[in-house]
Symmetry: C2
Subunit: 361 residues, 2 copies
């Protein structure tokens, strides 16, 4: 079978050229006589791989020297606990609830202290980003937490919240490297890589140095203390070596494509094709208020469950896969991450037009 157009929310499509390189190097990485899977993480050859990955990421995001880059494990779900364990000195934090993942992070933080929901869009199935210009953030809150792009609901912050001087912690899993970002605005930026960057099994965290200390909550496991990994350059124990290697290849691919500004342009172009069609379609409707639409995840519905199911089925047969929406939104969702070519979105819209013609009177 040919390669499909894969609209999965994550794990998700990767650049074909990265996969081809990985396949070619599988038995012998650059004359080392070994697969990257087989290399000691203490070897010089692997050390170059992880160091180069970090350097390329720093380059792409223009990460200042006073921020550490950590390659971690456990997914965002584990990081939900790491945030309070490492930052909740006053046992108080403000959470903005814009979807399931923000809510899970908030619930996890409640294990460790007073997590306060200072805003939420749950009232309308998270179809918008609340106004965050003047939130009631307690003076002694240790941080303000957001999920910047909401994979399930298809929303994204177009403007960061006014944290009133508090540290901003942001989960960027589903918009990581999709456009430029100003790292200096954050205390902690982190994300699972399995959407825009690489194979599941790595969390990349970019953390301002002064937030990495020994002063963590009692009972914090050594591995969940950021200082452990920061002091060891992410090599305290064996990291997910192969996964990091693939992430490194994706960083190089993004650089080759022109960096994050070019990536943003590419993503805006793709999103426009799909949103423009949704706005004119008589059958399909987007579910998100226009000003908060994500460039990465585009949920849409027909309003008829049976028709939604028929669409997903026929699309799958035509080679457009993983279009079924999350059960809390229903309908469909097209995730159009960096590696989704424009052609994929164009062909999807063509297919949707054809489906619309066949299924409206």
């Amino acid at each position: 079978m040919a390669r499909v157009y894969n609209f999965s929310a994550g794990p998700a499509v990767l650049p074909e050229e990265v996969l081809k390189e990985a396949a070619a190097e599988m038995l012998d990485y650059k004359g080392s006589g070994q697969s990257v899977m087989e290399m000691s993480h203490r070897s010089k050859v692997y050390d170059n791989i992880i160091k180069e990955a970090e350097a390329d990421l720093r380059d792409l995001l223009n990460i200042p020297d006073n921020y550490k880059v950590l390659f971690l494990q456990g997914g965002a779900s584990q990081f939900f606990a790491e945030v309070p364990m490492n930052l909740m000195k006053n046992k108080k934090a403000a959470y903005i609830i814009t979807g399931q993942w923000a809510k899970k992070a908030y619930q996890e933080a409640k294990i460790y202290g007073d997590a306060i929901a200072v805003a939420s869009s749950e009232d309308k199935t998270y179809s918008y980003i609340p106004d965050c210009s003047d939130l009631d953030i307690p003076e002694d809150a240790d941080y303000v937490y957001i999920c910047e792009n909401n994979t399930i609901y298809g929303t994204k912050y177009k403007k960061l919240p006014n944290t009133k001087g508090h540290i901003l912690v942001s989960d960027v899993s589903s918009c990581f490297l999709s456009e430029p970002m100003d790292v200096t605005k954050y205390g902690v930026v982190y994300g699972g890589v399995q959407k825009n960057i690489g194979p599941a099994g790595v969390v990349i965290a970019i953390i301002r140095e002064d937030l990495i200390t020994d002063d963590v909550l009692p009972g914090t496991p050594t591995m969940l203390k950021w200082k452990t990994q920061a002091d060891a350059d992410s090599l305290y124990n064996t990291p997910p070596c192969y996964n990091i290697y693939i992430c490194g290849k994706v960083f190089k691919w993004i650089k080759k494509m022109g960096g994050l500004s070019a990536m943003k342009e590419h993503n805006e172009k793709k999103a426009k094709i799909l949103y423009d069609f949704l706005d004119e379609s008589k059958l399909f409707n987007g579910t998100v208020v226009k000003e908060d639409r994500s460039l990465m995840n585009v949920p849409f519905v027909t309003g008829d469950k049976e028709l939604d199911a028929k669409f997903v089925e026929e699309a799958t047969k035509a080679g457009f896969v993983n279009l079924k929406g999350h059960r809390t939104v229903g309908g469909m969702r097209a995730s159009i991450y960096n590696a989704m070519p424009i052609e994929g979105v164009e062909k999807l819209v063509e297919f949707m037009k054809k489906f619309e013609k066949e299924n409206t009177k």
Copy 2:
């Protein structure tokens, strides 16, 4: 360059046939049109991969139905915290210290309760396994903890400790699937996969069902509570999908090779070649007492640091890589896991003989 003979302690050599298959399937796994790296972990095609991996592992180890198999993240180092967090109801546990990893597990447990070192071989640089037939284990200890094969020091328990009715928890990272084991003798068996099974980034834990409960220590992160992953069949959040897929291929390779009895025979044969030579050599000496020798990790020294360094250098040039010993033992270490062919050990011994001839008067 041709493939080298890779004696790395981990990550380590994998079966060439597994790597070839993975390379061939990189862009299109069995007609799915996707790489396994790109697949939704909730898709049917991936569900088959993880289910089949578990079934094959159960088959290989003859795992009884009342044991759960979990695919986790964070390495053994993270599991060091998970053990007390999930099992220390009485806040007391007995640790047998046979090397650096057992000691780290013991130190981590001290964060959570009264971890007691009931035996140790630290007095002789962990070159033997202490007598564990009649240890002073507190009645109310929650478990007895061992590291069954000591990667750095090259020792292995040939007989499990007498736990006096207590639950046995065993880190089998560096002897996982190297020979048959009776799972029913353990409460918890676990190991990082990056030595004998697959690419770093997965910990496999085999846990007796009654030990998986909601009754964990206060402050245990949701992701570190075994019940979270047990209830979700290791799919509570996105698992390290690709890594598990490679592990599954290695399980199938072991089955094809004849299962764990055949693997044991294969490993005994390889170890005998190397140990027999060490026992007769006038230049090289093994560092471990004979009765506790590991089949997987074979440390040896010449007694002369400069000569050790010269050996490692010349061996590397000849295509025998990663032979440098751990700094706490010095000298050399050959890790000869399942995927190391007999030929690799034979050729290493040939090379050692030649080196001995050239370097003794």
